[in-house]
């Protein structure tokens, strides 16, 4: 089967997400779509899958034009999709999820899940998925949920399988397993469309790479191309993929966490006796697959959670039990993981957002009055300093792009003397150019002598920034290792192996020091 997208254009109002895109996908091939976040890859695939209607252009299957009015049509034509955010009903079993929309029924629409279960077992055995048809989806690890998504497509006899950013939620080991599964699928004749912004994976698995930038195809590349070439194509200019930084000048260990535990309202232990310290002038990166307690760690430090026990000391003062405001006033800067909901107030102006943590203090306030002029001057200064692309300080923060919102948050949090700086996912969804800038700011804060804690699920970011790396797994601290620890060791630790186990398991070139 040959699938062709010809001249696909998709506009949302005045914004063109896809501009005359041509892509050809053939059986037995892995075709990667490489592009930055927001380049239009997902939009394109949603058009192909019938979720969006294309403004212009045609989809051809075996050279015959087809029209999809919904995902049902796309699936009937043999197209399956594994979405970035899984499309599984958490309270259903695997079999119910796979059957949904494609049910075997008897008289009066009575469900016969037995056939579906048999199909799941068959596919699961053929590819070694190890999926139990009767397990509840919400109880399954993310990697297994992804396999359920793949089974969903295969049960419907998908000839083309689209994987949208499939590795974003996986550990490095799970990623390797997924890549193996993809090559198995390719060998059995399936056409795979692999959407990613991660150069390493794209290079590892692709037969053909199409690079998309700002909604346009900017070129095709060979998987043999170097990472730097691909990055340049993706971003549109030469980018430095490595961060230059001096060795840290360690000061006193002023930030200390001891036996920090967090309970969920239902009694689940989200963070389990975590202890570590960060010295002045040091960056500690918290690595781990999403959902292993990182969010709880940062929110507990900021005083946002109930049911926290242990001790959090900053400069000898206990932070635990204090209000968020007291914690901020004691000199903690915090960049939350979801900037659009927790970082900025979308309906406030950029200028207002820039002083959210000190609006009630001089020089921004005098008694009950605020000083708009001072606020505006501050905004103009920060906008220049952080290169925030906005029409002006009076623009609503919600109208800014993700990367620029992030710069606003960073500018606000770094605009006063800090005793501790915490940034959660500091560059998620930010374009490559801005990443460089934000990373340099973080390193500058470190060099100014502030203890810095970075939480990131991107291993590249962790290894770039960190002086030391702490790995969290299921709410426990697996270990703290030096910043230059090899990726595969970190990967094993992110799956729960202790650093000793991880080092002995991976036959590394022995970079570790102790």
């Amino acid at each position: 089967m040959k699938l062709e997208l010809r001249g696909i254009t998709k506009r949302f109002g005045t914004f063109t997400a896809n501009d005359h895109i041509d892509v050809i996908v053939e059986s037995g091939q892995v075709h990667s779509l490489l592009g930055e976040n927001g380049a239009g890859k997902s939009t394109l695939m949603n058009v192909l899958f019938g979720l969006y209607e294309a403004t212009e252009g045609t989809i051809l299957i075996d050279d015959k034009p087809v029209k999809f009015s919904g995902p049902g049509d796309a699936m009937a034509a043999g197209i399956g999709m594994v979405h970035q955010h899984f499309m599984l009903v958490p309270v259903f079993t695997v079999a119910e999820n796979v059957a949904l929309g494609n049910e075997d029924t008897g008289v009066g629409g009575i469900l016969h899940l037995e056939k579906t279960r048999a199909r799941i077992r068959e596919i699961s055995d053929r590819y070694g998925f190890g999926v139990d048809p009767d397990a509840l989806v919400e109880d399954l690890p993310v990697g297994v949920q992804q396999r359920v998504e793949i089974i969903k497509a295969l049960v419907r006899n998908a000839k083309v399988l689209i994987l949208d950013e499939p590795t974003a939620v996986l550990t490095p080991q799970e990623t390797d397993e997924l890549l193996t599964i993809i090559s198995q699928l390719r060998d059995s004749g399936t056409a795979v469309v692999f959407i990613s912004h991660k150069l390493r994976e794209v290079k590892a698995i692709s037969d053909i790479i199409t690079v998309i930038r700002r909604g346009k195809v900017v070129g095709k590349a060979d998987p043999g191309a170097s990472a730097a070439e691909l990055a340049a194509l993706m971003v549109g200019r030469a980018v430095s993929l490595t961060l230059e930084k001096d060795p840290p000048k360690l000061g006193e260990e002023s930030f200390k966490i001891k036996d920090l535990s967090v309970l969920a309202p239902n009694g689940q232990l989200l963070l389990d006796s975590v202890s570590f310290g960060i010295s002045q002038g040091e960056i500690l990166a918290i690595a781990g697959v999403q959902g292993n307690g990182q969010t709880e760690l940062t929110e507990a430090i900021m005083g946002l959670l109930d049911h926290v026990s242990g001790s959090i000391k900053l400069g000898g003062k206990e932070l635990l039990g204090r209000s968020v405001k007291q914690i901020i006033n004691s000199g903690v800067g915090f960049v939350p993981e979801d900037r659009s909901t927790d970082g900025v107030i979308g309906s406030f102006t950029v200028a207002e957002n820039l002083i959210l943590n000190q609006y009630d203090k001089a020089p921004y306030a005098r008694g009950l009055n605020m000083s708009p002029v001072v606020m505006l001057k501050n905004a103009l200064k920060k906008i220049t300093e952080f290169d925030v692309r906005t029409q002006g300080p009076d623009s609503e923060a919600g109208t800014l792009s993700g990367g620029n919102q992030q710069k606003v948050v960073m500018a606000r949090e770094l605009s006063r003397p800090l005793k501790l700086f915490i940034a959660s996912q500091p560059t998620r969804g930010v374009d490559v150019g801005s990443i460089e800038f934000l990373h340099r700011r973080i390193v500058a804060e470190r060099d100014a002598g502030t203890p810095v804690m970075i939480v990131s699920t991107e291993l590249d970011e962790v290894t770039d920034l960190a002086d030391r790396i702490a790995v969290l797994y299921k709410g426990k601290l697996v270990g703290i290792v030096p910043g230059d620890t090899p990726r595969d060791v970190l990967g094993l630790m992110m799956a729960g192996a202790s650093n000793e186990e991880a080092e002995s398991q991976s036959s590394t070139e022995g970079k570790e020091d102790a």
Binding site: L51, L263, K474, I480, G483, N499
Partner: protein
């Protein structure tokens, strides 16, 4: 770089559940236990309460149940305080409360209360079968109402408009039933009336994305206003023509109807009464055993997932809300064609909201909603019966009983009940 490596070793993450002590349950038990001790035990009227199982009209006769208020009062209070103490011990030890505790406590409390209140009444004598059968009759519209809620909310549309649907159904059944003299026409009209209310809800909630709670509340007020208007302008003027609907006959199944207590409940009902049992089963079976049900639940939990497998989310939601209207309409007809002989202004009197509470109490499950509605029906009937018997408790307090039970139920004292994940969230395709 020279940092020391590692602090903790990663044990297997087995100790994943820890304890957050909640004193709400033991405290509630303690307070209710003390109420029992002071009221039912120490405050015992030292009399006997008589419960008649049969009233002589049945073929089978069972002797009356006579219970001493003092003995039952003390026994009940001691058991309840015992459970409260055990609950304190468990919570203190950081363990979970046993599953039997809540139902056992509730049963003991209800029995102790019943014996005390009947024993204190001017006529310490009650016909138990009648009390229970009456509860079923009162619960029937509640059950239809909460099934309507189940159908709508399982698909992800919050249905606050149950009250309005019931009222519209009752009104239409009364007026069309009176004019045609036909029961079937009455029921059909009730369905049409209620479905119209549903459709307004569906259109505003699904197509125009208006807040579903607000649309529901507005619909309730609208229906109350409209029916009151037509009641006072049309029905009052010529009530023999417009407000004297025919009534469904009770169909008595011989022999089976003579079984004490159970006979009148299951085998001495109107068509609508039997229909209620069928409706509960059908909704349960449909939701959990058929393709339709799987899709409905998927749409209520994760509409986007349903959409990506080709299910038309909004169409399914729309038809489910319409179906909810059909079911509520039958419940509305029950008011004017079975329980009461005519329509009256706002005659549903908030029962649609109690049905909503039954839906939540019953955890969005048709069977659960059935039992919850029965509980509310029982407390409603008890308040009627006790008013007649002349109890020491002021009748206003008795009339509060069903609503007080509702508050306890919905406040989550009996465990958290979890709504469908996408309940109330409109689905918009990007």
């Amino acid at each position: 770089m020279s940092q020391s490596i590692a602090t903790e070793t990663p044990g297997n993450a087995t100790r994943n559940i820890a304890v957050i002590r909640s004193w709400a349950a033991p405290l509630t038990y303690l307070v209710l236990g003390l109420v029992a001790l002071l009221g039912f035990a120490i405050g015992s009227p030292h009399a006997e309460a008589t419960f008649r199982i049969t009233d002589g009209s049945q073929k089978i006769s069972v002797p009356d149940l006579v219970l001493g208020t003092t003995f039952i009062g003390w026994a009940g209070a001691i058991i309840m305080l015992g459970i409260a103490a055990y609950a304190f011990v468990l919570v203190r030890a950081g363990r979970k409360l046993a599953r039997w505790m809540m139902p056992v406590f509730a049963t003991v409390f209800v029995i102790a209360f019943l014996v005390w209140v009947i024993g204190s009444a001017n006529t310490p004598n009650v016909y138990l079968s009648g009390l229970i059968a009456g509860s079923f009759t009162l619960a029937t519209p509640l059950i239809f109402g909460s099934l309507s809620g189940v159908l709508s909310e399982r698909a992800g549309v919050v249905n606050i408009a149950i009250e309005g649907q019931l009222l519209a159904g009752a009104f239409c059944a009364a007026i069309v039933g009176s004019m045609t003299g036909s029961l079937i026409a009455g029921v059909l009209a009730a369905i049409v009336g209620s479905v119209l209310v549903s459709m307004v809800l569906a259109v505003f909630a699904i197509k125009y994305l208006v807040n579903q709670v607000i649309v529901g509340v507005v619909l309730n007020v609208l229906v109350a206003g409209l029916t009151s208007f037509f009641f006072s302008t049309v029905m009052v003027g010529d009530s023999s023509k417009y407000n004297s609907p025919p009534a469904f006959d009770v169909i008595r199944i011989p022999l089976l109807a003579d079984i004490p207590i159970f006979g009148p409940i299951f085998f001495e009902q109107t068509i609508l009464g039997y229909g209620m049992y069928l409706a509960v089963f059908l909704v349960w079976f449909g939701l959990f055993k058929t393709r339709w049900g799987l899709r409905v639940r998927a749409v209520g939990e994760h509409p986007k997932a349903a959409d990506t497998v080709g299910i038309k989310v909004n169409a399914l939601r729309f038809w489910n809300v319409v179906l909810a209207g059909v079911v509520a309409g039958i419940g509305g007809a029950f008011f004017t064609l079975v329980t009461s002989s005519s329509f009256n202004k706002e005659m549903t009197a908030g029962q649609g909201f109690i049905a909503l509470a039954a839906l939540i109490f019953g955890r969005w499950n048709p069977i659960g909603a059935f039992f919850a509605a029965l509980l509310f029906g029982f407390s409603l009937n008890l308040s009627f019966v006790l008013t007649i018997l002349g109890t020491p408790v002021p009748s206003q307090f008795m009339q509060m009983l069903p609503y007080a039970v509702t508050i306890f139920a919905v406040a989550g004292l009996v465990g958290k009940s979890k709504a469908p994940a996408a309940d109330g969230e409109p689905y918009v395709k990007e």
